[in-house]
């Protein structure tokens, strides 16, 4: 049994998603290890983002279960939670393929909004905080400290009071990850985090992801197109094609899997042996 199957943070079973007659995801099952970087790859239109949207609650799957297991606590059935509960109670955070920052708010404000759940509890239904409750002031100081911590981690502390919309693209990507981390997730889902980054920024992103895994001890689940990034940082790769899972394993296993090569090269099954032999000298 593979290492991710022993203590999965997320266990997806028989996930199926229909859009009318279109089967976007067809009976997909996989595990995401608690301390792994797991990558979801596949050709365009394979259903990667649909899987993400199901996990993070933006779609309700047609069939299947998604179990989120907290370390020594309860298990949540993600398909039964509302989208905001998936972050607030099950502690799954996500970023978006096309960055969704609050562009008219400052970098710091973006990180404060991310800590809404905790702060709002401390604000005593708002009325307490309007009257100047001390517990809220303490919670806010702690929230600013957490925000400052993440700004230092992503190297944006000098730009804390800049509107998020004014940041360069690479900084926006990192800010979105910092914002997701400010919700203190157990599972961080990144939708193409390296898209649009240059080689140096992409390198920095890899280091950030390593440091998150090492220090926060959380699971990172990402969609990525850039194979060099995926092969370099992932512990575990899941390959989708036409909504079906076609492979699941370590980077080495995936690299050698003929069906993955075929899916990426687009070769019919009967010609597969020749195609593989051409690719691999």
């Amino acid at each position: 049994m593979s290492s991710w199957g022993e203590d999965p943070v997320l266990k997806v079973e028989h996930l199926t998603m229909h859009f009318g007659g279109l089967v976007a995801i067809d009976d997909v099952s996989f595990d995401v290890g608690r301390h792994d970087i797991t990558a979801l790859i596949g050709p365009n239109g394979a259903g990667k983002t649909t899987v993400f949207n199901c996990i993070t609650g933006f779609y309700k799957p047609t069939e299947g279960t998604m179990e989120l297991r907290q370390p020594d606590g309860p298990t949540f059935r993600l398909e039964r939670l509302d989208d905001h509960q998936i972050n607030a109670t099950a502690r799954v955070a996500r970023t978006f393929q096309n960055i969704r920052l609050f562009s008219g708010m400052t970098v710091l404000e973006n990180l404060m909004v991310a800590q809404h759940t905790g702060l709002s509890r401390a604000s005593g239904l708002t009325i307490g905080a309007i009257l100047g409750l001390g517990s809220f002031a303490r919670a806010e100081t702690a929230a600013v400290e957490l925000a400052r911590h993440w700004l230092e981690r992503v190297g944006l502390v000098a730009r804390a009071d800049t509107p998020a919309g004014d940041l360069p693209y690479g900084d926006q990507r990192r800010l979105e990850i910092a914002r997701a981390m400010c919700t203190r997730p157990l599972l961080l889902c990144l939708d193409e985090p390296a898209a649009g980054l240059n080689a140096r920024e992409s390198e920095g992103l890899n280091e950030l992801l390593y440091s998150i895994r090492a220090q926060e001890k959380i699971a990172i689940f990402l969609i990525e197109h850039d194979m060099s990034v995926v092969m370099a940082i992932s512990d575990h790769i899941i390959v989708l094609d036409y909504g079906k899972k076609i492979a699941d394993g370590t980077p080495q296993e995936i690299r050698d899997d003929p069906s993955v090569i075929a899916a990426y090269l687009g070769v019919p099954d009967e010609e597969l042996p020749e195609a593989v032999s051409e690719v691999r000298p």
Binding site: T56, G57, F58, D82, D83, H84, Q85, I86, N87, A88, A93, R94, F96, R100, L101, F102, S103, G104, M105, T106, L108, E109, M112, V113, A114, H116, T117, L119, S120, S123, T126, A129, I130, F136, V144, R148, V157, A160, D161, T162, P163, G165, D166, R179, A180, T183
Partner: protein, 516 residues
């Protein structure tokens, strides 16, 4: 501005062609509106052509456009630049001095000439031009001498101090020296303006912060007013009990409206809230047993000063007797002024405080991006409902105050035009900006009122001219002007709610507008 190297001849040709087109459009538009008039004769309605008026209107458009083309839009050095530079910190060059000085000399000559010819109204225009230049120079002088003063804060403090002391000071002056100031009128107008400031601030929570376009805000105003009126007239409850209940009732209706519109965004939301406003008004109009229908509810009691009534005589001690003053109807009005001032400031303080709390940040985040909000664990359903409820609460409080001030309410006070004016105040002021909304309320409501008392205009347009009739036209022109020059409202930048270092205003182009 003209491209460099174009000769005057080319520019003139372009300008003439452009003005010809503008004149043509003006002719097409005005030919029916101004060029023809229906007159009621013995024989029935007849069409009366008015070619002269039409020619004058088209001529104004043609020559106006020509002058603008030649001296502003296509000129190498637009004639308006020196006037714009007057209100910046940039230095003047020789051209600017020539233009400004020349204008000032012309204005002085105009004053002398107009006075000599006995046309004081025209002299007023020249005085206004001079005042404009003087104001600009004064502003430059102040900014030059004290470049780092927090001008916005000084302006706000001065405004609040003025609002706090204006009635007492003028009243004291009037009682001491009998200057004959129309105090009653001033106070009534101030109360009206403050009511709209409060309504603007209330709606600003929904539209400006949460980004939910609400066209039926007057419904909450109506709910507050009727709740107050019914409680006060049927159960004899006092002002300080009825007022919060009116606010809470409106907030409850805010939540009731919130539920069905949770899934709607933008235009659809606007239409449903518009319909909600109309439903409330029509129910008030037709539910005669409770609301007395179109006849409205009358003799709503006036507020008392902690139990002391403001009346010349009463069963209990009156306000004047208690303090040993001579009875003056102005006492009650000054009290009303301070009540609405306190309510408006309360609205402002609560809004400013809430902006810095999780709920306020969630509102603004929802305006920016609702999907990202949900991915961060924010319950957008509750966030929307709180925005509607908080906005409605202040609308209801303002409605309760309106009921007690008027002493009479009927559905006619709560038509769509009220919603439109309140929304216009928010949009013109700058969505999300408290100061902008206050300025817009003063200018719009106070400006409309000032039109009734602008006698100088009659000397231009004839004795029968009533400027108040043109207020919707001016309103429209103001709207178009703001949308052209300041599409995000008078004060459109956004102040951050929390900072690590120095605060910097966020330019409007980055901030989302009400659409969700």
């Amino acid at each position: 501005m003209a491209e460099p190297g174009t000769s005057f001849g080319q520019r003139l040709t372009l300008a003439l062609w452009d003005s010809f087109l503008a004149g043509l459009i003006a002719f097409a538009l005005f030919s029916l509106v101004l060029g023809l008039r229906t007159e009621d004769n013995v024989t029935g309605l007849t069409l009366q052509p008015r070619p002269l008026l039409l020619a004058v209107a088209v001529g104004i458009v043609f020559f106006g456009r020509l002058l603008l083309d030649l001296f502003v839009w296509q000129a190498e050095h637009p004639l308006t630049d020196p006037f714009a530079r007057l209100f910046t910190r940039d230095g003047f060059d020789r051209r600017d001095v020539t233009v400004l000085g020349g204008t000032a000399v012309l204005a002085v000559l105009g004053i002398i000439l107009a006075t000599a010819l006995g046309a004081p109204a025209y002299a007023l225009i020249a005085v206004a031009v001079l005042a404009f230049i003087a104001l600009g120079l004064l502003r430059r002088a102040i900014v030059h001498l004290f470049p780092d003063l927090p001008y916005a804060r000084i302006f706000v403090t001065a405004g609040i101090l003025f609002a706090l002391f204006f009635p007492l000071t003028t009243y004291a002056l009037e009682s001491a020296f009998h200057l004959g100031m129309p105090l009653r009128y001033w106070f009534d107008l101030s109360i009206l303006v403050l009511t709209y400031v409060m309504l603007g601030w209330g709606l600003n929570i929904v539209v400006g912060l949460a980004g939910l376009l609400d066209l039926g805000y007057v419904a909450f105003y109506a709910v507050g007013a009727y709740t107050f009126a019914l409680l006060a007239t049927h159960f004899g409850l006092g002002f300080w009990i009825c007022l919060p209940i009116a606010g809470l009732a409106a907030a409850a209706w805010g939540i009731i409206l919130g539920f069905p519109v949770l899934r709607l965004r933008g235009d659809y939301l606007a239409i449903v809230t518009l319909a909600f406003g109309e439903i409330i008004r029509i129910v008030l109009l037709n539910w005669t047993e409770v609301t007395n229908g179109p006849n409205g509810i009358s003799s709503i009691p006036k507020p008392t000063f902690f139990g002391l009534p403001f009346s010349p005589f009463a069963n209990s001690t009156t306000f004047a007797q208690f303090f040993g003053l001579k009875y003056d109807p102005l006492h009650g009005i000054i009290f009303l002024y301070y009540v609405i001032l306190a309510l408006a400031l309360l609205t402002n303080l609560v809004t400013l405080r809430m902006r810095r709390l999780p709920i306020g940040r969630a509102w603004e985040a929802m305006r920016e991006d609702e999907i990202a909000c949900r991915s961060l664990g924010i319950n957008t359903t509750i966030t929307k409902l709180t925005a509607f409820a908080t906005g409605a609460l202040f609308g209801g409080l303002a409605g309760g105050f309106f009921a007690t001030r008027q002493g009479f309410i009927s559905p006619e006070s709560f038509t769509f035009i009220e919603s439109a004016i309140i929304l216009a105040i928010v949009v013109l002021g700058g969505m999300g900006s408290q100061l902008g909304v206050a300025i817009a309320a003063v200018v719009l409501v106070g400006g409309f009122e000032a039109l009734r008392h602008t006698d100088g205009l009659q000397s231009f347009f004839g004795a029968g001219f009533d400027p108040a009739l043109y207020r919707m036209l001016l309103f429209g022109i103001a709207m178009v002007g703001i949308m052209v020059w300041r599409p995000r409202g008078l004060i459109s930048s956004r102040a951050p709610t929390i900072t690590l270092g120095d605060a910097q205003a966020i330019p409007a182009k980055l901030v989302e507008e009400g659409r969700a």
